[in-house]
């Protein structure tokens, strides 16, 4: 049996140095709810585990100068839920994160882990994409920013370069009349994996949708930003015709596989159905009367 080294650096710089020193044999541990499962199943055999939960930047919740949020990548869903403000601004992101697993899992699972695990079915990711969240990434060559939709590279893969760590997510300030929502289709009521997931973020001004973003999960190798769906919504009063058009755009964006979790036909149809339902919730939260 090979031994595993466990490191828990206290600073981001130490973490980056240690991660680089391990030369690809290390894995980052946030909540571990994906990592440990993959290690147990024999899928991964890292020689070093780098726990990032002791690093302040990865566990902070901050307000940005423009009134947005900066959320540490390793914060658990349960911890984020306790913040008095975040859930008011981004109820859809929070509900997506806290759909994950069970109460026990939510005490550990993080948005960063959900994104970096690279699953097209990760629940927080479509909501983050819809939110227009930006990921701050730091590595041996310094810091850079990536839109969340540009982070995944395919099932189990990200566009993070060797040695890079995801530090935080920045959420833009919310104009009045804005909200978001996330819905997923699962056969059971909980403890399941999304067959389709849809995140919608929108802004309403006098009944007209002035801004919208749509994230679509589990229907393609990566979570998708569905710009055609957003276009259909923007400028409309979210009338039936606009919603139908947006739903059709979501179905058209699907590039799913037939697998044990759902057929192509099923996923394609459900993507449209969920767009309608998610938009309705987001609009209601945004104050549509």
């Amino acid at each position: 049996m090979s031994d595993i080294r466990y490191l828990a650096p206290q600073t981001l710089d130490d973490a980056i140095a240690q991660y680089a020193a391990a030369e690809g044999a290390a894995r980052i541990l946030a909540g571990g709810t994906d990592l440990l499962v993959q290690m147990r199943s024999g899928l991964l055999k890292p020689s070093t585990i780098l726990d990032v939960k002791k690093i302040p930047e990865l566990t902070a919740i901050e307000r940005t100068a423009d009134g947005g949020f900066k959320i540490g990548a390793a914060i658990s869903g349960a911890a984020l839920e306790e913040d008095p403000d975040f859930g008011k601004a981004w109820p859809g992101v929070l509900e997506a994160l806290n759909l994950i697993g069970s109460t026990q899992v939510q005490g550990r699972a993080s948005m960063g882990g959900n994104l970096c695990n690279g699953s097209p079915a990760g629940d927080a990711v479509p909501a983050l994409v819809a939110a227009g969240a930006v990921a701050t990434i730091k590595g041996p060559n310094g810091s850079r920013e990536l839109k969340v939709e540009d982070v995944p590279a395919g099932p189990g893969k990200t566009n993070l370069k060797p040695g890079e760590i995801l530090v935080s997510f920045t959420f833009p300030a919310r104009p009045k009349g804005s909200s978001d929502a996330y819905l997923r289709m699962i056969p059971r009521t909980e403890m399941d994996i999304a067959v389709v997931g849809v995140g919608v973020s929108l802004t309403l001004e006098g009944g007209t949708c002035t801004a919208a973003r749509v994230g679509l999960g589990a229907v393609a190798p990566t979570v998708l930003l569905v710009e055609d769906a957003a276009k259909a919504l923007i400028g409309s009063t979210l009338d039936d015709a606009a919603i139908e058009k947006a739903a059709a755009a979501c179905s058209a964006a699907c590039n799913p596989i037939d697998d044990k979790r759902g057929t192509i036909a099923y996923r394609t149809k459900v993507a449209g159905v969920l767009l309608k339902r998610t938009t309705a919730i987001a609009a209601e939260r945004a104050g549509r009367t």
């Binding site: 049996m1 289709m185 056969p187 009521t189 994996i193 044990k260 759902g262 459900v270 159905v273």
Partner: protein, 753 residues
């Protein structure tokens, strides 16, 4: 025994295993550990079907840390032409299932096992075993297995004189179905399929086995029968039963799936070879690939009735998957399907079909839910066709005392009609559904129940308490129920009775926990033993008082003098008599062993309400009530637990549970994420309507309770979905993609939206 004056029978006493379980003290098989213990792992087939040309274990044996390697060659040989039945199993098939012999027959089929100083080395050594295969074409589904050019799993198996994957058939005939159908005004015929489903026990198979140099063998394992473990291990290893002590661990679920062995004989041989105790614990993936499930099926059922609803003929053909070796539960499917009804003309035919899947194991009323799914579905359609209430149709045709059933018996007093009447009268059935796409379905079901061999020993402790030992693992409340009965019979407090499950060396032979037999059978032998103890106690008191034993009664937990002596002596308690036991003849206790008979069948009727999300195809159960004749609810909480557990499993079978195979012939969902059993939030509170029509052939009126609650479920859910959508769906599961596809194929429903 069934009167209201009972003090303990019918009481919800505190379960004796409760504190241990909630505090983590209960010792399951995987908790067992011994000094010097080593670990074993199994090498499994990467192919669904192949001939084994050679197995070379030399590299594995050479790996440092490896202590023993075993293959089929280390076990007793059971030639295919000589049947060696053991219960419903046959050692020819058990041996080949445990370790592949001539061929590997499914992906995950064990080929060899290695014991090493830790699990990692054992696994590493398994990977070093070199197996040469001749890979063969495979068949997974029934239709592929019975096709003309199907790959044949076993050359020795013939049907109609030709090599075939049909391992056997079973036929029940009553009257003349052709004549019956000729009389019918309405005939409905439909075909159905169901998927194999796993028992879903949380505790995976596990054991620790220690073989001493003189071959004396001790087995700690999780099973539904320590005597079954002993017998199968003895057969497969050649060690005599008298040298094997099988100790039953606390069991973390079985549902039929632990009525056969996978690991114990393997660990025994590895322990014998290595001289060390050997531990084996399956992973969930191993459980899902290579144990259990119950059969998938395809069936066709035809029912004919008169305009007034009188059923005049019923015919059913049931193909059941056996997995890779013979032995699917066709008896349960073909035998139970029509059993709730008084039908003059019945023909029921079952086919046992092998294919390249793991061998099926018993699952709660094995086969019966498959038969009921088809018959109860057709009955619902018949009710619609006749314009009759589906429960009234069932009541009109209900079997009753004197009905001759197609599978053989003429029923004594049974409670089937009472379950239908209770459903008809229930608040549930009489509360209208109000929502869109909501529907209500009903279905009934039957299970044979079983008696058989049981042993009990009832001992009075020196301080006047009672230890009862029986020989069946407790999977559903038998300890608490036996304590209730013993306390009742002795007239003492429930707390004074401790019920133990003996190992194979400390209690007489007791058949396994299965067939809903345990409380029925063990209550009989415990009653006999306790009655003998009462006679002894009376005798001891008589001796002390110097009167004839016939002049002593046992009442209210004490011996009392009778008649002319009644005023002469103060009564004596159990404690007082126990204290004087040595002076009056020695220890007090009695045992009883018997092959019990008179376990009469069980009947249930279920009512299920669902709501369908027609855009997503999701079926949610809103309300569910299970009406069942339980004979006598010795411990009502446990009876309800059995009913609710069976219903939950039936709903899972109906909605989402299924084995999914990929194109390579491998199970694609070998875990609880993609093998979807219901989670708690999927189900409403499951209501129970307990009906007590005491079994006239049992001292406490007990009927088996544990299996029939699974039987009606799949059909009740399917019939409810029809009521909600107006669509008959004949293939399980009613999973969202399948339901949405059915909705999409039905344009009238879309128009109605």
């Amino acid at each position: 025994m069934n009167d209201q004056s009972n003090k303990w029978i019918g009481k919800r006493t505190v379960r004796p295993d409760g504190a241990d379980k909630v505090t983590g003290r209960a010792a399951y098989a995987a908790d067992a550990t011994m000094p010097g213990m080593i670990w074993a792992k199994v090498l499994r087939s990467p192919h669904p079907h192949a001939t084994i040309k050679s197995i070379d274990t030399s590299k594995a044996e050479a790996l440092p840390g490896v202590k023993a390697v075993a293959t089929a060659a280390d076990f007793v040989d059971f030639p295919v032409d000589t049947p060696v039945p053991l219960g419903i199993q046959d050692m020819r098939w058990m041996s080949r299932n445990m370790l592949a012999k001539e061929k590997v027959l499914f992906h995950g089929h064990p080929i060899a096992a290695v014991a090493a100083i830790n699990e990692e080395i054992a696994a590493e050594a398994c990977a070093l075993i070199e197996v040469e295969y001749d890979v063969l074409p495979f068949a997974i589904e029934i239709d592929d297995a019975i096709a003309k050019d199907a790959p044949i799993l076993h050359d020795f198996m013939k049907f109609d004189g030709k090599p075939s994957n049909i391992a056997g058939t079973l036929e029940h005939t009553l009257g003349d179905v052709d004549a019956g159908f000729a009389e019918a005004d309405v005939v409905i015929e439909r075909s159905f399929t169901t998927k194999p489903v796993h028992q879903g026990y949380i505790e995976t198979h596990a054991c620790v086995v220690s073989v001493a140099p003189d071959n004396r063998t001790t087995i700690w394992s999780s099973s539904q029968g320590q005597f079954m473990v002993r017998a199968m291990t003895a057969y497969l290893t050649g060690i005599p039963q008298s040298n094997i002590k099988a100790i039953p661990a606390e069991i973390g679920g079985g549902f039929g799936g632990k009525t056969i062995v996978y690991l114990e004989p393997v660990a025994t041989i590895l322990s014998k070879k290595s001289g060390r105790p050997v531990k084996m614990v399956m992973t969930r993936e191993e459980v899902m690939r290579a144990t259990g499930p119950t059969s998938g099926s395809k069936s066709t059922v035809k029912i004919g009735a008169k305009k007034d609803g009188t059923i005049v003929a019923g015919q059913g053909t049931f193909y059941l998957q056996a997995g890779c070796l013979p032995g699917s539960p066709i008896r349960g499917a073909a035998g139970c399907a029509f059993a709730p009804y008084d039908i003059k003309n019945v023909h029921s035919f079952g086919y046992d079909v092998v294919s390249n899947r793991s061998k099926v194991a018993a699952y709660r009323a094995p086969g019966a839910p498959i038969g009921a799914f088809a018959v109860e579905s057709v009955l619902d359609e018949l009710a619609v066709e006749l314009g009759m209430d589906p429960l009234k149709l069932r009541l009109k045709n209900a079997a009753k005392e004197g009905t001759k059933a197609a599978h053989g018996p003429t029923y004594p007093r049974i409670g089937y009609a009472e379950t239908v009447e209770a459903a008809l009268k229930s608040e549930h059935y009489n509360t209208p559904l109000t929502g869109k796409f909501q529907g209500r379905g009903v279905a009934s079901g039957y299970w044979f129940n079983a008696g058989g061999e049981s042993s009990a020993q009832v001992n009075i402790t020196e301080d006047g308490n009672v230890v009862v030992t029986t020989g069946h693992p407790d999977i559903g409340g038998s300890r608490a129920s036996i304590a209730n009965i013993t306390a009742e019979l002795l007239g003492i407090n429930y707390d004074q009775v401790s019920v133990q499950i003996g190992d194979t060396a400390s209690i007489g032979y007791s058949n396994l926990t299965g067939g809903s037999r345990v409380l029925f059978a063990s209550a009989m032998v415990v009653t006999e033993s306790t009655e003998q103890v009462i006679e002894q106690l009376k005798g001891r008191a008589a001796k002390i008082w110097g009167i004839d034993p016939s002049q002593v009664v046992w009442e209210g937990g004490e011996a009392r003098p009778m008649g002319e002596h009644s005023a002469n002596f103060p009564s004596m308690s159990l404690e007082e008599l126990a204290a004087k036991a040595n002076a009056t003849g020695g220890p007090i206790g009695a045992g009883s062993q018997s092959n019990t008979v008179g376990a009469e069948g069980g009947f249930a009727t279920h009512v299920c309400d669902v709501e369908v999300d027609v855009d997503l195809g999701i079926v949610r159960v809103l309300r569910y009530t299970c009406f069942q004749d339980v004979g006598r609810a010795i411990h009502p909480s446990y009876v309800e637990g059995q009913l609710q557990g069976g219903v939950a499993q039936g709903i899972g079978w109906a909605l989402n549970e299924e084995y999914i195979y990929n194109k390579k012939g491998q199970v694609d969902n070998p875990g609880f994420l993609d093998y979807r059993m219901p989670v708690c939030s999927d189900l409403p509170m499951l209501d129970c309507g307990i009906i007590e029509i005491p079994n006239p052939k049992h001292p406490q009126g007990v009927r088996g309770v544990g299996e029939v609650p699974l039987v009606p479920g799949p059909a009740a859910v399917r019939n409810a979905v029809h009521d909600a959508l107006g669509i008959w769906i004949d293939d399980l599961p009613l999973s969202p993609p399948n339901v949405l596809a059915a909705i999409d194929a039905n344009s009238s429903l879309q128009a109605a939206e």
